[in-house]
Symmetry: C2
Subunit: 230 residues, 2 copies
DNA sequence: ACGATCCTCGTACAGTGTGCGAGTGCATTT
DNA sequence: AAATGCACTCGCACACTGTACGAGGATCGT
């Protein structure tokens, strides 16, 4: 059996006197936020809960299961609007921005996206609502899924490099003049690139990324809308 | 100093009598293709080259550097067309499909995308050519970068879950009836989702993903094109 | 023959996930 | 009250990881 997931098997009975799965997952998310995916180890997590490392294995079968739980936990932070009230374009747009914000808040999410199936209740809830949005928009049949896949692909694909950039820059936030110089040297032989690097040097990176995200989002929404009228 | 990269420092002089960086990187790519990102360890890679694990550290400062090199290596597999000959839409479309194919061929790529800066020569070459494509299309200023970011975001965001799905399904390729049943149980309480799952059950997954990719790609290209006319 | 330089690798250390089995405390049954 | 059983904790051990260090070998210019 190649395919397993926490969500496809019965959990242990809750309500016992010991620790709970919830607080373990909450602590895991905390630790992940503070130290990143590599910073989460069973021993460290155990220490944070004043427990032995192997105690956690009573509540969770493997570390991967724990990651699945933490993963779904943050899916719960996405805000989904009702397309019947605000219109499908606004609803989708709000969801897209919300996804981006959640990813920026939990940078380790990007690492998990490509590795875990999104079968948790929170992830399914978001997917369910998104399907509704695109049905309200007028999509039918497989196109509903296609449109949803396109939207999430864009958001994840756009935000993932943004996160990589943030963490590469470390805590300083902005890129230093020195490092911009070395990058310029690296792209020296690519004429088109030099232009781009020089342009970006004069701009506020954070605002630039916001602009870039909105530009692409509007494009994607326009492109999807066009599928409806033909 | 938070930011480092192989590409921003001088490499060791090549041409010595010993092993070369090239064959190490080539072996690393082989091993990655066969066993995935977790399957690559310095000891295993050393064994494959009939060398001690720590010998490799003469050519490469850390394992992360090696990954950066392997990463850029496969960027070299992308095929870039000349937009002056085939038109920008075709050129971009060919590149997008090529990116997807390369990712499917080297599934570990998806894991690295969010973690490494793409500063290698091959990655820069692709970025350079893509800039050209969008300039030929008519984009100016920052919009050139925005359009490029949108396109790559879509391709990576679409292909990454596809890879995750493939590897979750393991070698069987297709999803079994049994597992489709368990998934159906997981989504039982989300009305919109059930419909989607049932629909997909009757379709060939591989063809479906191809369709989905093309649907989104056309949408993105249409959306970008619309930015030009306003 | 003698360095110097390039290159290899054994050993060691701190860290990882987790299987196993012994131990603790509480609840229920006898 | 005693005994049984269950829920839970955790120390130890194993196989594995990346890589710092330093001792050795090989090849070359002189």
């Amino acid at each position: 059996m190649a395919f397993t997931s926490v969500w496809l098997r019965e959990p242990r009975k809750p309500g016992g006197p010991g620790r709970s799965r919830e607080e373990i997952v909450a602590a895991a998310v905390e630790l992940l936020d503070e130290e990143g995916l590599d910073g989460l180890s069973m021993r460290k997590l155990g220490a944070r809960l004043s427990a032995g490392a192997t105690s956690l294995y009573w509540y969770v079968a493997t570390k991967d299961e724990l990651l699945e739980l933490a993963y779904d936990q943050v899916w719960g932070e996405m805000t989904v609007a009702d397309p019947d009230k605000v219109g499908w374009r606004d609803a989708v747009s709000v969801l897209a921005h919300s996804m981006r914000q959640v990813m920026l808040r939990h940078p380790w999410l990007a690492d998990l996206l490509g590795r875990l199936p999104a079968l948790g209740p929170n992830a399914l809830h978001v997917a369910d609502r998104m399907r509704r949005m695109f049905k309200v928009a007028g999509f039918r049949g497989s196109d509903v899924d296609f449109a949803g896949a396109t939207l999430t692909a864009y958001v994840f694909g756009m935000t993932t490099p943004e996160i990589a950039w943030n963490s590469a820059m470390g805590e300083t936030g902005d890129d230093t003049e020195e490092m911009r110089a070395t990058v310029r040297r690296a792209v020296a032989e690519f004429p088109e690139m030099i232009e781009g690097v020089d342009m970006n040097a004069r701009a506020d990176p954070r605002a630039m990324r916001e602009l870039s995200f909105d530009f692409g989002l509007v494009s994607v929404l326009d492109g999807l809308e066009r599928r409806l009228t033909t």
